[in-house]
Symmetry: C2
Subunit: 107 residues, 2 copies
Amino acid sequence: MTDFFREIAAAAAFDTAKPTKADLFLGDRLFVGLNCFEPGQAQRTHTHAGADKFYFVVSGRAWMTVGDETREVEAGSVVWAPADVPHSVAEALERTVLLVAIAPPPR
Amino acid sequence: MTDFFREIAAAAAFDTAKPTKADLFLGDRLFVGLNCFEPGQAQRTHTHAGADKFYFVVSGRAWMTVGDETREVEAGSVVWAPADVPHSVAEALERTVLLVAIAPPPR
């Protein structure tokens, strides 16, 4: 076990009933975790008041929306959801792993 | 052009003379960018006072150190460098792309 090093492959988990979340690291100023989707699963439109967030697509393929923009994203895409801008995962098109970071962390 | 969506492949750049950095997104509370290394390149030990940081290894392989821990990391590794803890990229063993996030952003 380590305080500083984690592997996505060991932390990712999937549930056909709903998307799953996994915490990776939590600091006073920054949270890092995973959102994992089976094909067809989604994350409803939401907004983080006063918190900047981004997603990095580790694997898979999905439709994502930020503000008025909707794009098909895949491994290597970075999606910026700044404070107070609505965003969603409209639909995962494959089994998809999103790395997600939020600053400051959710309470 | 988009305010919210970027692709790592379009942003990564390499220089045999030194590691390169690329900014992806900058908010009031969070910065996201890339650090790109040719084999043999390194990032010296440094500390961010009052700022939490993590690296995600997008591609490649490297020796990285945080505090007293040194590990070989590769695509899929997440490396947490919390505020005030020294960290470094001891050596890139292959051409390596690190996604990096810091909260709050560097001034």
